[in-house]
Symmetry: C2
């Protein structure tokens, strides 16, 4: 089966001119089929602030009222997405920007109100993997913004990590899929202060052990849980690496 | 040959909730293959103003400095485009939002500085009609924002009327193309104060005559010149009508 690499980069990387240039150069050099999923939270916060709209976060998640939905639709779907697409085109990559609304790519539902009302935030119901596979086979490189739609005319703000996982899983009937999460560290570190202490391979059994030892804690726990969930759903491997090591060399490989 | 209707609607229609709802209902009811090209200038002006950026217009054209390019990329490519796409999806239309950068759809060059420096404004070099035709044949309805790219990593602000004409011409090798411009009046009026005085058919010879009589003047002259240019380039007919008469009944048909 043909391979595809679904790569997720956070806002911090795409919003800084230097790291973005490096990322896009590395991404364009990656061989084979690929998909880029990007964040954009810092730009959204900044544009919102410039518009006099305050960003409210709960547990790292953005509360998305109507005004904020307009901002993230502008920033993720327009500013960040089109800037990335235009720059990839300049590097010879046949990039096509997409949100979940485009061609009904990612349908979600508004998160039910529990302890927190997140507002116009969507939890993913399904991804049209067939459509993505058709595009990829035509040589197109999808660039996916963290926005979905509810099928009733509303855009919904959706976590970019979740979108990357769901896109990767939806592609498994068509491709041999690797999912790469770029973040600040080179991988899962045995010692958080030592970038040389990357744990190169982690199985699900190792994960339980690493949790028990306290090597994996805090925000990394749900990240790795999501990664292993993707693997159980058919993704070949999940790589955690730094954006300047997009090829995954020296990162942590979960499988 | 299969027919396709390329429909251009101005910002005033897509930016008002009532007229937008009517437009999308009418558009979704149109039979056959179709493309929607939209404006969004008023929203751009408003968002820019809210961000403390002043809109400068020369002869009805927006001067697009770097800050304004960010605004139009957000507003046209994000806010307006995705709102229209999500709402069309809710009406069962397989809409896909595109700018000229996406899949290298519309390449343009920055307008040379003459008497006026328009800034990041693009004049169209070419449209990938083959790509659009492929999408349309897959049942997709392209929704095109008035943005292009220069192939060197920059988005460019591009007149929506021009995009509609260029898209229509690029589709002529693949389809029998009608180009519909929606505007405030029901068509070309013999008496500008009488909506019942629509001139139903205008040939290029009639156009010369109507210009001589002063029935066509001011901003309508370049609009009709562009329309006849599209017809000379293979578009079957150009319809000028009001947005609430999308089927072209009662409008002016140029051919």
């Amino acid at each position: 089966m043909e391979q595809v690499n679904v790569i997720k980069v956070g806002g911090a990387v795409v919003e800084n001119a230097d790291t973005l240039a490096q990322l896009l150069a590395d991404f364009s050099a990656l061989p084979g089929a690929k998909v880029l999923v990007h964040g954009g939270g810092r730009s959204a916060t900044q544009v919102a602030a410039n518009l006099g709209i305050e960003s409210q976060m709960v547990g790292g998640r953005r509360i998305t009222d109507e005004a904020m939905l307009r901002v993230v639709t502008m920033v993720y779907g327009g500013l960040v997405n089109k800037n990335v697409v235009a720059r990839l085109q300049a590097l010879g990559v046949q990039a096509l920007g997409l949100t979940g609304a485009d061609a009904d790519l990612i349908r979600s539902h508004r998160r039910p109100v529990g302890e927190v009302d997140y507002g116009w935030v969507g939890d993913v119901d399904r991804v049209r993997g067939d459509l993505l596979a058709t595009l990829i086979r035509q040589g197109i490189v999808p660039v996916v913004a963290p926005l979905t739609h509810d099928g009733e005319g509303h855009m919904l703000n959706t976590n970019a990590d979740t979108i990357a996982s769901e896109v990767a899983c939806a592609l498994t009937p068509f491709f041999d899929v690797t999912l790469t999460f770029c973040f600040e560290k080179r991988g899962l570190l045995r010692n958080p202060d030592d970038e040389e202490s990357v744990v190169p391979f982690v199985s699900e059994a190792d994960f339980a052990q690493l949790k028990a030892e306290g090597v994996v804690s805090g925000g990394m726990v749900p990240k790795l849980e999501n990664a292993f969930q993707a693997i159980r759903r058919g993704v070949r491997s999940v790589v955690i690496t730094r954006a300047d090591h997009l090829d995954g060399q020296g990162g942590t490989c979960l499988s």
